[in-house]
Amino acid sequence: MDFNYLTIILFLPALGAFLVAFLLGNNAKAIKWTAAVFTFIPLLLSVILFACFDRSPAAAGLIQFEEKVSWIAPLNANYHLGVDGLSLPLVLLTAFLGFLAVLISWKIDLRLREYFGWLLILETSILGVFLSLDLLLFFIMWEIEVIPMYFLISIWGAGRKEYSAMKYVLYTLFGSAFMLAGILGVYFTTGSLSIVDLALTGFDSFRTVIPIAVIFFFLLIGFAIKLPVFPFHTWLPDAHTDAPTAVSVMLAGVLIKMGGYGMIRLCVTLFPNVAQTYAVLLVILAIIGVLYGAAVTMRQTDFKRLIAYSSISHMGYVLLGIFALGQVSLIGASMQMFNHGVVTGLLFAMVGLVMHNTNERDLRNLGGLARQVPVIAIVFSIAGLASLGLPTTSGFAAEFLVFIGSFTSTAVPGIQLYTLLGVLGVVVTAGYILWMLQRVFYGPVLEKYNGTADADILERVYMFAFVAVIMLVGIYPPILTNVFKLGVSPVVGLLGG
């Protein structure tokens, strides 16, 4: 196939960013439409990719739509792109949220050129992380993402935005430093930067420059901060809370998934034995994340911060699924990444809408909105129910696969007990989600919100898109599990399960 799908998907947003920043002047309409078009085409192409993806069992572990060009020959670094069952749904998710983030940002009116420029660069860099099959390219894309995030939070954010942006940058760079050390460790041991080759050869035939477990943990720290794993999570509530709505959507929706993706793609795939050795530790951290995250969420009074903290709890399930190291649990973890991307994306979009329309973000001052903004109330409730894992939503499909996969995994001693503790998290989740819904939408109607606008047409369009995906995955999970299982099966092969 001569049509370079992946390169086009990857660089169209960046091209759009270039156009917006340098060629279109300050014409607001042109800027928004350009941004919309240059994110919509990648979405369309990703959907085509998803439809054309070979799902036959023979395709298990194969890289599809591969593109490879020599890049820095002396380093053996290549411009190497490709998707497999693991990365494809995440690429689709990124393209989906990237387009919707533009729609969500439609009402932005401050420094439009820069805003949309950064937003589109952000999309390219995240896509780059999921598409790269070369460690150097992967790392560069990973690092580029920090720059737009810094500006997006510190300029268009709210509250302590400079503090949060700086915290985000420093925390991420701290993790990246370890990650770079890990990548260098891999490179100097094997002389290869190809993620595909490394997965095949492993480390058994090499003398490592530093102990292999150290390389594993160097990489892991970078990913753990991004996911985030307790106790590296405190950047997240600040960044989410102070970021503008669309950026929160991207941040919660796909950015933190880079952590989970990296763990499966590099930590578990390249170091299956090390992963097995330290799995218990990470499973325990996962359970702490689930329960501790949920407990702290219960006490939040800021609307946005509550959703942010809930992410910590939900990402705990991803970590649990990954380091339970079973086939089903890994599929469950991947499902949970996708599910959380859509559900929390929608939750942040809705929180942004409520905050925008009521000018209030303190849960203690909100109430009774269901009468005044019925459409928002319905969609918010659906998102909330998906978040607490109600069957027929993607939340249940994902969490259930994590539970069943972890509980039946044989790789980690005592996993049943940890899994049950994790299941207990869903009770607390129900607590804070229903409390939040009640606080905001139920109870006596408050007169001060009488003129509050409900969702307009554009907002209804993107809400509908979110809800459709949540229900589709919830009612027919094989649409994703059939893809994820192809990506996960080689990993499981390495684990000997």
Partner: protein, 635 residues
């Protein structure tokens, strides 16, 4: 013989009704239109016909079961395979009749009761979703899908309890119901996981087989059965998770009749019956079911004695009767427990519809504001009394037959037997207390404030409400006759059949039915003495038993214990609050501390950068000296 396609239709028709009402009708019709109600009622008429057809087919089928082919759902080779399928056996067939019949009656009634409510269409959309989920629950052939529908009926219950969400009590009650039942669901899910770990299947038939053949280790069987029972305890509001059901009465009364009396709360009993082979092969699990059931029966009945809100009386009565069913399952088996479920569905739904009818007339649920309604609401009065006699277990009404079987089964266990007997007395007392306070004496004014109130002139409800009540009243009289011949039992795979005349008069040849009839009669007599003739003053009696009265009236302080002490103080303020502090001060504090430390370190080291060459020269000199010394001593 019914074909699988039609059985699928039983589940799908209410689903279509939900989709049509929510997406195609509700956005386009006026608030006063009654079309949404008719859509659901039409669907339910068809479903009822199909359910009857199913019942007849199942009766005729070999082993009382019609095989239905499965559909694959999620397949992960070497991992999990989940299929989607239906069971059409005797248990399902009976449940289908209960669900569709009560749902149909309740929906017809709702046409009158909910008329004029701004949420009319939303009401029928959710009722459709509920009926679909409830039918899915009784039809599901594997634990996973059973759990899916289990959660969905919980969702509908949440939505319908909070139907009038602008009332803070309704919103609170809805949340409480969801969270308390979810606590039980944790056990249910754990039970499912444990079973799957050891059997690699969710299929109910296969699990039955494994339990019966003894392929499952007894510890695993016991723990998974207890886990599943925890789910049932939550859903059926058994002790100690009973606290949500009385509060759930904040929902519209037809909702209480359908969901919180006849069907959803009985799902826990159904679940135990569905998984009965697991319980049967674990003495511990079966004993747990019987004990929890027996304790709940008397515990809830005691609180029903003193409530002033008629719906609360009925709610505690429901909890108590569900305990009875559990007791029946625990000591007698599927046929006995489910037979009581079957009869209870009709008379308890009827009692709630009666309460709704009274509320429609008086605008209140507080019995102290009612009185004298016998004359103005003859139909409501007659049907309410029939239902009360039935629940009290008076021969030959339906309640007598199923209650009698449970009591007889407990005969060998003195403790459970006494619990059951005391409950019989309490039941007839609290029911007739309600009857005499509500319908006897003179009208005490009602209330103008609440739903449907017409203030000073109470009147009989319209035909659309009375007709379903009459139908249910007939059922409350005759539904028990099914097992007079023992046919219900054999249909469920229990006991033997005999002639009608023998079965009909047989109880009078035994001592136990006499005892329970006498106890029930005494309960009615006491209520008559206290609330109709006032030979005994209720106030003085209450004062005489003051500590006991307070204990019952304050519901044993369970709400206070759970909500204030455990949730509010220990968890939210205590544990969660301190974890939040910990997160802010310690975890985040450490990060900010590192940042501050770095800045302070930078400030300190910056002083060395003075720009004076002499100083730099001095540092270089010291450095060289240090290196030389190190090399000298180390080399």
């Amino acid at each position: 013989m019914i074909t699988p396609q039609f059985i699928w239709l039983i589940f799908l028709l209410p689903v279509f009704s939900f989709i049509i009402i929510s997406f195609f009708v509700r956005p386009f019709v006026k608030a006063e239109s009654r079309i949404t109600g008719y859509i659901l009622i039409t669907a339910l008429f068809t479903v009822l016909a199909l359910s009857i057809w199913t019942l007849l087919s199942v009766m005729a089928a070999p082993h009382h079961e019609i095989p239905v082919p499965d559909i694959n759902w999620v397949v992960i080779e070497g991992g999990v395979t989940i299929h989607l399928g239906l069971i059409a056996d005797s248990l399902t067939a009976v449940m289908l009749i209960v669900v569709t019949l009560v749902s149909l009656m309740v929906q017809i009634y709702s046409q009158g009761y909910m008329h004029g409510d701004p949420g009319y269409h939303r009401y029928f959309a959710w009722m459709s979703l509920f009926t679909a989920s409830m039918l899915g629950l009784v039809l599901a052939d594997n634990l996973l899908f059973l759990f899916v529908f289990w959660e969905l009926v919980g969702l509908c219950s949440y939505l319908l309890i909070g139907f009038w969400f602008h009332k803070p009590e309704a919103a609170d009650a809805a949340k409480k119901a969801f969270i308390v039942t979810r606590l039980g669901d944790f056990g249910f899910l754990a039970g499912i996981l444990l079973l799957y770990l050891n059997t690699s299947t969710f299929d109910i038939h296969e699990l039955h087989k494994l339990a019966i053949t003894g392929a499952l280790a007894s510890a695993i069987l016991t723990w998974s059965a207890i886990g599943i029972f925890a789910g049932a305890v939550g859903k059926s509001a058994q002790f100690p998770l009973h606290i949500w059901l009385p509060d759930a009465m904040e929902g519209p009364t037809p909702v209480s009749a359908l969901i919180h009396a006849a069907t959803m709360v009985a799902a826990g009993v159904f679940l135990v019956a569905r998984m009965f082979p697991l319980f049967e092969h674990s003495t511990e699990a079966l004993t747990t079911v019987a004990v929890i059931g027996g304790v709940t029966a008397i515990f809830a009945a005691s609180m029903g004695l003193v409530m002033n809100d008629i719906k609360r009386v009925l709610a505690y009565s429901t909890v108590s009767q569900l305990g009875y069913m559990m007791l029946g399952l625990g000591v007698g088996g599927v046929a006995i427990g489910i037979f009581h479920l079957f009869n209870h569905a009709f008379f308890k739904a009827l009692l709630f519809l009666g309460a709704g009818s009274i509320n429609h007339a008086t605008g209140t649920f507080d019995m102290r504001l009612m009185g004298g309604l016998r004359r103005v609401m003859p139909w409501t009065y007659a049907t309410f009394v029939i239902a009360s006699l039935s629940i009290a277990g008076i021969w030959p009404l339906s309640g007598f037959w199923s209650k009698d079987e449970i009591v007889v089964s407990t005969a060998s266990q003195p403790v459970l037997f006494s619990l059951a007997m005391i409950t019989v007395f309490m039941t007839s007392f609290y029911m007739f207390r309600a009857v005499f306070i509500t319908f006897g004496g003179d009208y005490r004014g009602g209330s103008q404030n609440e739903h449907g109130g017409h203030g000073s002139r109470p009147h009989e409800s319209p035909k659309v409400m009375v007709t379903p009540m009459v139908v249910l009243a007939i059922l409350a009289v005759v539904s028990g006759l099914w097992n007079v011949t023992g046919h219900f039992g054999t249909f469920m795979g229990h006991g033997q059949t005999h002639s009608f005349t023998y079965g009909f008069f047989h109880p009078f040849t035994q001592p136990l039915p006499w005892i329970s009839l006498i106890l029930a009669g005494l309960g009615i007599l006491l209520a008559y003495a206290m609330y109709s003739k006032q030979w005994l003053s209720p106030e003085k009696t209450g004062n005489f038993f003051k500590p006991l009265y307070t204990l019952f009236y304050r519901k044993y302080w369970f709400d206070e214990l759970y909500e204030n002490i455990i949730v509010r103080v220990a968890l939210v303020k205590g544990l969660f609050g301190s974890l939040k502090q910990f997160d802010n001060q310690v975890v985040d504090g450490a990060i900010n501390g590192v940042a501050r430390g770095t800045i302070a370190g930078g400030r300190a080291v910056r002083r060395a950068q003075t720009g004076q060459l002499q100083l730099y020269g001095l540092f270089i000199g010291i450095g060289i000296l240090a290196l030389v010394l190190v090399l000298y001593f180390a080399g």
